[in-house]
Amino acid sequence: MTENGDATPLVQLENVNKHFGALHVLKNINLTVSRGEVLVVIGPSGGGKSTLCRAINRLETIDDGKIIFDGQVLPAEGKALARLRSEVGMVFQSFNLFAHKTIRENVTLGPTKVRGVAKDAAGKRAMELLERVGIAAQADKYPAQLSGGQQQRVAIARALAMDPKMILFDEPTSALDPEMVQEVLDVMVGLARDGMTMMVVTHEMGFARRAAHRVVFMADGQIVEENTPDEFFTNAQTDRARDFLSKILTH
C-alpha cells in the first residue's frame, strides 16, 4: 500500500444494511478503504457487490448504518451530495458516456460545469487524459462511433478529469468483447501503479492478482472473506470462497 502520510481511511462503512423489497442485499457491512489502496470486490452475481460500490457515492441509498468518505458522513442530497460525488469517480459496466456529446465534451463537462474550470484549460487537460488512455485521435467523435473498450477508456478519462480522491469501478469489463478487456485493464493497472485509490468490482481475477492490494469476497450480501490476493487465491479460508474459486479458476 502506498503511504501518503494520512492514516485515516478514505472510506469507512459501518454496519451498512440495504434491502430491495424482501431481499437483504447488504447485510451489516463493515469495510474500510485506505488512501492509495486498490480494493477488488469479487463474488457471485447477486451477492451485493455492485450495490456496495454504488452506495459509496450514493447512487444507491442505504437503509441503516453509516458511510464516511474522507472524514464526512455521506450527505443525503442536494449540493453537498453533488460535491461529494464530484470527488468520487465512477466507471460503469455500460460506460454511460453522454451520447449526444463528443468524446472531448464528455471529458470537459464535469470540470467546466461542476468545478468552473475555464474551457481552454479543461480542453487541454481532457486531451492529456485522452492521450493517457490512448483515445486522443477520437476526441471529436461521438461515443457510438467508438468500440466498447475505447468508450470505457473514455469513461475512465472522464472520471479522472475531476481529479477524484477515489474511483469506483462497477464491473468495468463485463460488457466488453473479450479482445477489448485487456486494453481497459491496462489503463486500470496504470492507475493503480500511480497510487489512485480504487474499488473495483470485477470478475477479472488476473487484474485482482496483478493490481489489488486486498481482495474482498462477497456473497449473499455479506463480506465473507478479506485477504491479500495471493492468500485469497491460493489459500482461501472459507468454504464459500473456495467453492466460488473452484468454479471460476478451473477453466
Binding site: 457515492n57 460525488r85 460503469f92 454511460n96 463537462l109
Partner: protein
C-alpha cells in the same frame, strides 16, 4: 369562386392572426411545457404533484373551455389585463390560454422522450457531480428533445389548427371567424372553405415534413 376572391383580403388578414397566435403559442408552450416536465420528473414531491395535476386537468379540459375560462375567469373576474386595447388584450388572453393548453401536451411528449434516455445517462451525470437541474438541462432534456421532435411537430400542428377556436376566448379576428362572418353574408361557400384549408395546409404540411427530417438528422445514436 368570386366569393373567395371578394373575401380573400379579409380572410388573409384573419389567417395572419392565426399565424401570430401560432408563433406566440409555439414559443410559450414549449417553454411552459419544459418547465412542467421538469416539475413532473423532479425529486420534490410537491412539484411533481403540482405538475401532474396541471397536466391532467388542462389536458382533459376542452380547449374552448380553457379559452372561455381565460377570458371570463382570468380576465373579467380576476382582472388579468395584458393591454387596454380590447382586441390586443383578447389576443393575448387567447394566446396564453392556447399556450397553457398546448403546454400540457408538450410536457407529455417530452416526458415520453425522457423515458427513452437510458437511466445510466442520469447516473453518470450525477456521478460527476452535476446537480439535478444541471443533469436535466445538459444531459437528459437535450436527448429527450431529440427523441420527440416528430411528436412535438404533431403537437405544434394541432396547436396551429386550434387557433381557429380563438373566438371562444373572445378574439374575433382569426380566419375561422372571418369565414363565419362571410358565410353569414353570402351563405356557405365551398371555395372560401377550401381556401382556408389550403392556407392551413401550406403551413402545417411543411412543419410535418420538416420535423420528420429534423428528427432523423438529430437522432441520438446509441
Amino acid at each position: 369562386m368570386e366569393d373567395l376572391i371578394r373575401y380573400a383580403p379579409d380572410l388573409a388578414l384573419g389567417f395572419l392572426e392565426n399565424i401570430k397566435l401560432s408563433i406566440v403559442g409555439a414559443i410559450t408552450s414549449l417553454i411552459l411545457g419544459t418547465v412542467l416536465v421538469a416539475m413532473r420528473v423532479s425529486p420534490t414531491p410537491v412539484l411533481r404533484a403540482a405538475g401532474t395535476i396541471y397536466v391532467n386537468v388542462v389536458r382533459n379540459t376542452p380547449l374552448t373551455l380553457v379559452l372561455a375560462f381565460s377570458a371570463l375567469g382570468l380576465s373579467d373576474q380576476l382582472g388579468l389585463v395584458f393591454s387596454s386595447v380590447p382586441s390586443v388584450n383578447s389576443f393575448w388572453i387567447v394566446a396564453m390560454g392556447l399556450s397553457a393548453y398546448t403546454a400540457a401536451f408538450v410536457c407529455e411528449a417530452l416526458r415520453s422522450g425522457i423515458n427513452t434516455v437510458p437511466l445510466g445517462q442520469a447516473e453518470a451525470a450525477r456521478a460527476i457531480g452535476l446537480t439535478f437541474m444541471q443533469s436535466l438541462r445538459m444531459i437528459i432534456l437535450p436527448q429527450a428533445f431529440r427523441a420527440v421532435i416528430a411528436p412535438l411537430g404533431s403537437v405544434m400542428i394541432a396547436m396551429i389548427k386550434n387557433t381557429t377556436v380563438a373566438v371562444a376566448g373572445g378574439y374575433a379576428f382569426d380566419s375561422a371567424n372571418k369565414m363565419k362572418e362571410a358565410f353569414d353574408q353570402v351563405g356557405a361557400s365551398i371555395p372560401i372553405f377550401l381556401g382556408i384549408v389550403v392556407a392551413f395546409m401550406c403551413v402545417t404540411l411543411p412543419i410535418g415534413y420538416f420535423t420528420g427530417w429534423l428528427a432523423k438528422r438529430l437522432a441520438v445514436v446509441r
